[in-house]
Symmetry: none
Subunit: 153 residues, 2 copies
DNA sequence: TGGGATTATATGGGCGTCAATGGGTATATG
DNA sequence: CATATACCCATTGACGCCCATATAATCCCA
C-alpha cells in the first residue's frame, strides 16, 4: 500500500520523540525513509506531513512562477520557510518541532490520521472531534458522498 | 535535501560572526561549501543569499527580461553590482557585511528563511512579520495556496 | 489447528557526535 | 603597525545511534 491510511495514537517520550506509525513509514520511498517534511495545516489546527519527494514537486511549481512577482515571494515564504524537515531515526521515531506542537496543541500524545498522499497529526481529542465533524458534514450531503464513493475513474 | 528549507534564528557574536544553519550548509555543493554570495533583496528589506553556483541562474532570469526595458538595467544593476561573496569558516560561520546589515536592520541576531533555491536573512521581528503578511495575502486566495501544496503530480 | 517460538512495533534510556557559540592567537593586508 | 579575518580549541546542549524491553502480531510445526 502506498497511501497513508487509518489512524494511530502514539506517545511522545521524555526526549520528545514519537513513533511514526509503521504503516506510514512503509509509504515513504525506501531511498528517503529517514526524512519527512512537516508543516502547519492551512485549514485546521493540525500538522500535515509527507515524504520529501512531495516537496520537490512543490519546489518545481513555485519555480515556474514569475520570479520578480509578489506572488513568488508570498508562496516561497509561506511554503519553504514554514516547512520543516525532520529525521526519522532507526526505530522510526522523530521530533515534532516545538512551534508545530504549539500550533496543534500537542503535548504528550498525538494522533496520526492518514489522508492518502499525506497525513495529519492532531492533538488526540481534537483529531477525533474533527473526524466526527467532517463525517457529520458529509452525511448531511449523503448524495454527494455516495457519488464520490461509487463513481470510479 | 538539496533545498533551503525552514527557518532558523542565530546570534551574531562579538566578532560579527554568525552560523549559517547546518541544513543550509548541506545545500551548498561540497566543492564550494566555504563560500556564499549575498545581496540586497529587491522586494524587501532583507538580505538574500545562496551558493555561488546560483549566479548563473540569476543571470538567466535577468536575461529573460526584455533587454531594452528599464527593468533590465535596473535589475541588472541592482543585483549584480550589489553582490558580495563571503567566506564560511570551518565552523560554518560567516560575516555579514556592514552595509547589508544596515540595509536589513540586523544587529545582534538574524533569522534565516529558506526559500528553496536561495534563502533570506532578516532582522528577526521583521522577518516574522513578513511571513505573517505574506501568508495573509495568500489566504485571501486560499485555493491557490492549497493547490500549491496538495495538487498531485 | 493449537500453542510455543519468532518477528515486529512502540517505547525507554545511555552515550557519543554534532551544531551553535565563545574566545585566543596567527596571519594577512593595507 | 593596526585592524580585520581565518584557524584552532573549548563548551554546552541537542540530537542520532545503539541497545534493551514489553506487548502484539505472525509464523510454523507437531
Amino acid at each position: 500500500m502506498d497511501l497513508f491510511i487509518s489512524k494511530y495514537f502514539n506517545k511522545i517520550d521524555k526526549k520528545g520523540r514519537i513513533s511514526l506509525p509503521s504503516s506510514f513509514r512503509n509509504v515513504l520511498p525506501k531511498a528517503n525513509r529517514n526524512e519527512i517534511i512537516l508543516y502547519k495545516s492551512i485549514k485546521s489546527s493540525s500538522i500535515e506531513g509527507c515524504g520529501v519527494g512531495r516537496l520537490k514537486e512543490i519546489a518545481k511549481r513555485i519555480n515556474n512562477l514569475d520570479f520578480f512577482s509578489e506572488d513568488y515571494d508570498d508562496f516561497s515564504t509561506s511554503i519553504f520557510s514554514e516547512i520543516v524537515t525532520t529525521n526519522v531515526d532507526k526505530e522510526g521515531r522523530f521530533l515534532i518541532p516545538e512551534e508545530l506542537k504549539l500550533y496543534a496543541g500537542i503535548k504528550t500524545e498525538a494522533a496520526f490520521f492518514g489522508q492518502g498522499h499525506f497525513f495529519q497529526i492532531w492533538e488526540p481529542k481534537q483529531g477525533l472531534k474533527n473526524t466526527e465533524d467532517s463525517r457529520r458534514r458529509l452525511l448531511k450531503e449523503k448524495k454527494s458522498l455516495r457519488m464520490m464513493l461509487t463513481q470510479q475513474k
